[in-house]
Symmetry: C4
Subunit: 210 residues, 4 copies
């Protein structure tokens, strides 16, 4: 995908997610891979409200998270997480939303190594890449939040390695990260997971945890 | 209804239901009968996000679920269910939504043959075809989900036969199927039932089951 | 207000209330007084979806609920209730919405003569006509639903007489009726009451009843 | 900020907040400082629905809350609170919303001097001015509502002095007041706090109080 197209589509995604209430304040950040070798991401600039994102609010970064070319804005504070995911999963796009339900579910389990939210039996799971049936059991790892991005990126990398089948993870009290081969796949994954978090969150008896 | 008109109206329904959050991801599917003998349905193509449906995303199928003419897309994976309902109920349109509340309510009862959700006493029931009063008792059968469509279509047929007065059924953890003589009737039924599922779902003491 | 203006504004209210989810299916009905002597109401036609209301879907009725002039549509089935309220309260407009929260709260108390929902202490109450303070105690009478409109209109009349200060009443499992001197007042009352129903409905310990 | 620009932006904020359901009825009021010495505020006129706010519904007031120039409308009844906050915090804008969740949370603690809602551990807190980490502990003071504005303004002033780090306060059963150096900051604060109120309100075990 060309940078220009990526910038327009990421801006449009920001407006759609904002309308759903999934990226209030200046939360959320979105990226798309515009070159694989060398790795180049189109990514949202830092600290901008996502409901009024425009293509010129999208920056280009290299694989160290440094902005290419002249830029008056800084890239998303979480750029290193996007890079880690793009590399580990060969993802074409990475999306982070920050909804009420994902924030609640990410918090509903005591902190602990290798905590996960288990989701099974829902037809909606079939929309996740490679999932053929509602009988699929999706484990969504939950990671503790951390302001130290390089450290958090390492934890993300280890988590993705330990859970090669995971389509997403949650940051505790911080929200959802998911990705896809294309931006359309990643957006579909966001919708599916936000739907499942709400369904599980509202269900009596609460979510089921591993 | 002509195929062209059906395609435009089904696309518009997709956009309206998506706005309500009833067809997130690529869930949901919609059809309208464009010919009765031979039976021809206008139906949504498979795996498309319903919020951006366009008329050219609607295909025409025969009563075996085969696409008519040249088509680069496949029809909805659930086409056989639409055909079963269109035939058994002489419906003019069949709509499947996949909302949080319908998913939750479809799940709130142990699996069992002939499980149903009973709804009575609500004025909103009067909007269902043929229902004259709020004192009507609507039974919404709940079927176990199944990836084997021919098998599920048989179960749907048997259910419709056993419940000749039912205006809808639920697929467990999968959502709502309803229909109507016209597309407008079917859309009205969706709104009524989604409203009732939310009302019942939110009410303390939970739903009442038969 | 002229009939033409009333028709345009009632249609616009239908679209606004539909967007909020307060008039799904073909529920809800709205009227405005266009003449006081003789009494003439502009009122929504029966059985139409309110989200796509147009001015030509509004009819004119006399005080027996009969349509004036040539009409291919029937007026709202609940026209007699609008007339009763318009007369008893000298209201300029009467609005009936059918939301999830009003339906739930109308139902949360056993059937009984003179049941009411009591609301006190909320700043939002100040928006109701004549209410100067949050310390106001609003009693919202709850009436049993009834398909016999003349009989229900008599009950509505008796209720309004017994509760001269009430700004609204609830029909059990049917929704809210409110009114105002102007259409703007009535719409403001709908928003205030729907807000209060949701706030009370969500609060632990439930609503307080008289 | 010039008065004309402030009027346009305040009107736009009204429409955005109304769409979210945060200023139903005629609730809510918004201001921006257009001059610091002497203090001049652009502020919403009283008793207007905020969803249809236009720039000409914005008035200019001096630091006693008196309207400047010819005005056919009265300024917001809560103008004295805006002035108190603008002065005490050197705020550039003050926004008051009246959502369901803020109303509920403001009420969930017995009346008492120096009651506060404590919020900690949420990444979303980082969007509040000067907050570097999710480990921040934000105390949101809760004040009893009062129709006597001069008296309430004194209480607001004392509260702001006692809590120099607070970014907002709640009026019991009345809603949220927050502010920022710019209108964009204040709007971001509203979104963040409304998000947090909903998240906390929905979480089992309720909010944590000081």
């Amino acid at each position: 995908m060309s940078f220009g197209k990526a910038a327009r589509e990421l801006a449009a995604i920001g407006r759609r997610f904002y309308a759903r209430g999934w990226v209030l304040g200046t939360s959320g950040n979105f990226s798309a891979v515009v070159s694989r070798k060398p790795l180049r991401l189109a990514i949202t600039a830092s600290s901008l409200p996502k409901g009024t994102l425009r293509p010129l609010d999208i920056l280009q970064c290299d694989e160290s998270g440094r902005v290419m070319g002249r830029a008056s804005k800084r890239p998303s504070a979480e750029t290193l997480l996007h890079i880690e995911i793009a590399k580990r999963r060969s993802a074409g796009a990475v999306l982070h939303t920050h909804s009420v339900w994902s924030t609640m579910l990410s918090d509903a389990w005591a902190a602990g190594a290798d905590a996960s939210l288990a989701i099974q039996g829902y037809e909606m799971l079939k929309g996740l890449a490679g999932v053929p049936s509602h009988e699929h059991r999706e484990l969504v790892p939950i990671l503790d939040n951390d302001q130290n991005m390089p450290r958090l990126a390492v934890l993300v990398g280890e988590t993705l390695e330990r859970h090669p089948e995971a389509h997403a993870f949650l940051l505790r009290r911080h929200g959802l990260y998911t990705w896809g081969e294309t931006l359309a796949d990643a957006e579909r994954h966001v919708e599916i997971l936000e739907f499942l978090f709400e369904t599980i969150g509202r269900t009596q008896g609460g979510p089921s945890w591993r």
